[in-house]
Symmetry: C2
Subunit: 144 residues, 2 copies
DNA sequence: TACAATTATATTGTATTCAATATAATTATG
DNA sequence: CATAATTATATTGAATACAATATAATTGTA
């Protein structure tokens, strides 16, 4: 029984591991594609959010991306330096920082337009598989 | 048609995002569980591999975990300092570093034994869902 | 056997992540 | 209205990740 005692600890019995490895693998696929746009993967996620809805608070960006201020604040500062966005304190509540895209930030959308299909073409999943995966992952990420 | 032009760039149309967010969410579940063992998540993965097969090369650990030497080398040094393992150059090939668990490293396995079920109990997926997810993730991580 | 490739780790530099804490502004309450 | 509690963001510190490069050892080959 000695063998079975630790059976559960086998790497190939873990769900966390392929999740972790697949996530990194997919992120790595983005790196060369995002490089011409001057974006990292996390910066790209911020842009996706802002292209959909500009003028969000830092806290709203954090919520949408499931990231905390320790990650997002330096990220936004860097992106501000790069001229992609602006950060200004709200007039009505000085604690709040509102993020707006610059012209340059908005223009980048055009260059990014085809990235999803580029990525899609190098991900070997059928539409059904991708849909099933999507559903399962959302289930996983939305539980507290 | 302006709206549809950028439809693909919506955050909720991306597969990468729930993958990334779910991965981080799951890793975060491990943090408090691993803390009593003095392990981080990545260190735990190294231990899983070594508990299964001791005496691996650094390169073999890298392959199994899909990590590169820039991640693994400092990780192993830290774990060596903590007394969990030893790193020695191979006699037959001085380029090779062989990693062995110490007594302390092996003993930790007993304390880790129930972690998979602890994690399993806070992951809200059925056995079938977990199986399907597992299969899809392996598909994703194994494509070059 | 010199010495050009190759191989195995290690190092460096940049960019995340996140827990924990700090700070400043606003709100709630006695 | 003073101040305790809360809120929003920022800072700090520790641990990853990974691309790019470096170094040392080994192998292949003219």
């Amino acid at each position: 029984m000695k063998k079975n005692e630790y059976e559960q600890l086998r790497l190939d019995h873990q769900l966390c591991f392929p999740l972790y490895a697949a996530s990194r693998a997919v992120t790595q696929k983005y790196t060369p594609i995002l490089k011409p746009l001057g974006l990292t993967y996390t910066q790209y996620l911020v842009m996706l959010v802002l292209w959909e809805q500009d003028g969000l608070r830092v806290s709203e960006l954090c919520e949408k991306l499931f990231l905390d201020s320790g990650t997002v604040t330096p990220l936004l500062k860097k992106m501000e330096q790069q001229g992609l966005l602006t950060r200004e304190r709200s007039g009505s509540d000085e604690r709040v920082v509102i993020v707006h895209l610059t012209e340059k930030g908005m223009d980048l959308r055009e260059k990014a337009k085809n990235i999803p299909s580029e990525i899609g073409s190098c991900i070997a999943l059928s539409v059904e598989e991708a849909g099933a995966l999507y559903t399962l992952l959302y289930k996983l990420m939305n539980q507290k």
